[in-house]
């Protein structure tokens, strides 16, 4: 459905996105994960036809965004980083304006506005001036605007950024409700958000894709934790030595009687690790997985390249 080929974008001589290749299939919910400045917004602006790529191609249902902009744009609902709402309009008038902008015919506008209001649960504020709404509500009005044409594709740029935790939870619930109704590409720099909402994740850093996996695969790996927090009662030095000699243990950090153990789950199972600790007779009192696989790749992949530069 969305097909990105060799996409490159330069701002002047600064390269924001380099040779991106990925596809999003119809009905999928894909998370576009990366730290700030990774190039998420840039990529989305090109997919939505806001701006042109320096080179490469984006196709929606086989139509090039650049060659058939109007056809492509009518299939996409887009929520930019800042919700594009007019503060001087009433929620309902705004949605009706957006619906007309999307070229909907008069007889379906009413129904579509009701759909957007219902999905975003904005019925109660539809007569309010947008200026007077909270940030979370403005965000929802923005999402309603993206939804009002019932587009097959939804592109949401950091939909929860800058909201308080309750509003974040509401927006996530809202997006989860939209699963199955629209193909969704959503960007975020928060890992748990991808885990909560998406089926597949594309991790991007410094304008390049560094990992791409379905969340089912990741979930399996994620259940295999790779870092543990261990509390013991005695024999700290001995345990540290044993652990460091165990194949598959990558790193042991010690803070008094607390250990942080990093393992490679492919070499060493959690079971063998616990066995080794118990057998050492150190008096295990707590054993807690502290970081899962996805977090680990995210942090490793996105920070290691920073270290190299420093």
């Amino acid at each position: 459905m969305i097909n990105v080929k060799q996409l490159t974008k330069n701002y002047g001589d600064r390269c924001a996105v380099k040779n991106l290749n990925f596809t999003v299939k119809s009905g999928e919910v894909v998370g576009f994960l990366g730290p700030n400045g990774a190039g998420k917004t840039t990529t989305m602006k090109i997919i939505t036809g806001f701006m042109a790529a320096s080179s490469g191609q984006v196709c929606i249902d086989g139509d090039d965004v650049y060659e058939h902009p109007l056809k492509v744009k009518s299939k996409i609902g887009y929520l930019p980083e800042t919700p594009p709402v007019y503060n001087d309009m009433y929620v309902k008038d705004y949605l009706s304006f957006v619906a007309k902008l999307k070229g909907l015919s008069k007889n379906i506008i009413g129904g579509n506005i009701d759909y957007a209001l219902e999905q975003t649960q904005l019925q109660d504020v539809k007569g309010r001036l947008i200026k007077n709404l909270s940030k979370g509500f403005k965000q929802r009005v923005g999402i309603a605007g993206a939804l009002v044409s019932k587009p097959p594709i939804l592109i949401l740029d950091e939909p929860t950024v800058g909201l308080d935790p309750r509003q974040v939870a509401e927006i996530r619930k809202l997006i989860i409700r939209l699963r199955g109704k629209h193909t969704i590409l959503l960007s975020t720099h928060i890992l748990s958000e991808v885990q909560a909402i998406c089926e597949r994740v594309i991790i991007i850093n410094k304008g390049e894709i560094i990992a791409e996996d379905s969340l089912a695969v990741i979930a399996k790996k994620a259940s295999v934790a790779s870092k543990f927090e261990v509390d013991i009662l005695r024999k700290e030095d001995e345990l540290q030595k044993t652990l460091l000699n165990t194949p598959g243990v990558l790193e042991v950090e010690r803070n008094g009687q607390k250990f942080y153990i990093q393992i490679n789950p492919e070499q060493l199972s959690t079971e063998s690790l616990t066995k080794a600790i118990v057998n050492s007779g150190a008096g295990l009192t707590q054993f807690k997985p502290s970081m899962n696989y996805l977090e680990k790749i995210f942090i490793n992949l996105t920070t290691s390249s920073d270290h190299k530069e420093l």
Partner: protein, 254 residues
């Protein structure tokens, strides 16, 4: 066409129902009332004077209405950029620009819609100004043909200012910068013919006269609808709307 009207109606409402516009409109009404009354007094003096001396009689149109229209024009030179400044700059600032540019409409439709929105708003000021000579009809006889042709001319001048204001607004995301540019542009077009007073070249003089707004407006005020003047104003609008469209389009290529 529906998308153009959709945009212009939104902009019209967004421009008119603001404290800024109320302020501009009341200031406009205040200045016009003041100058109109003064013109009437002048006219009263001049008619009584001409009765005594048997000098040339001027009509009320020539004394009162003509200067009323030139005052309105001066107000428009400043007021129209203040109205149109928001058309594109504001959308860039509040990021609603992203919505327009990712909607299935062309850059041309966007700028034409915005031009019309700004034009409808600015014509409200022309309408306010029109009420004054209209009110004179209660007391005296006025040549309606010449009045209408004057106001048609003024409306065309106004639309040229709107197109210029739109263009300036598209150039910058700062509303202050776009007002200043707009006023400077308008004044330049107005004073273009003044610069040629000492020029030797007849060609230059006639080109400058043709480019400057003044001569064209005066032909309307004298009651003659010249095709060349109508074409002049329409092409000025077309040119600046077209340029705004190019600027909007070019922002996709940064």
């Amino acid at each position: 066409m529906t998308s153009i009207l959709n945009i212009s109606m939104r902009d019209f409402k967004g421009l008119v129902f603001t404290p800024m516009f109320y302020f501009i409109a009341s200031l406009c009404a205040f200045l016009l009332s003041y100058s109109f009354v003064r013109n009437l007094i002048d006219f009263a003096y001049s008619t009584s004077a001409s009765q005594v001396a048997g000098a040339v009689k001027y009509s009320i149109h020539q004394i009162v209405v003509v200067s009323h229209i030139s005052i309105t024009n001066i107000i428009l030179i400043f007021a129209v950029p203040a109205i149109t400044m928001k058309l594109i700059s504001e959308e860039k600032k509040t990021k609603t620009y992203d919505l327009l540019l990712t909607s299935p409409i062309t850059s041309g439709q966007i700028v034409i819609g915005k031009f019309l929105g700004g034009l409808f708003t600015s014509l409200l000021l022309v309408f306010i100004s029109f009420l004054y000579p209209l009110a004179l009809m209660l007391f005296t006889k006025i040549d309606l043909g010449i009045l209408f042709s004057s106001y048609l001319g003024l409306s065309l001048v106004c639309s040229a200012y709107v197109a210029i204001g739109l263009f300036c607004s598209s150039l910058s995301s700062s509303i202050i910068a776009s007002v200043i540019m707009g006023v400077v542009f308008n004044l330049t077009l107005w004073f273009l013919s003044q610069g040629t007073v000492y020029s030797e070249s007849d060609l230059l003089v006639s080109v400058m006269d043709h480019l400057s707004i003044g001569d064209h407006l005066f032909s309307f005020i004298k009651g003659s609808l010249k095709l060349s003047s109508i074409v002049y104003f329409l092409s000025a609008c077309g040119l600046f709307v077209f340029l705004s469209g190019r600027v909007v389009e070019s922002s996709r290529w940064r």
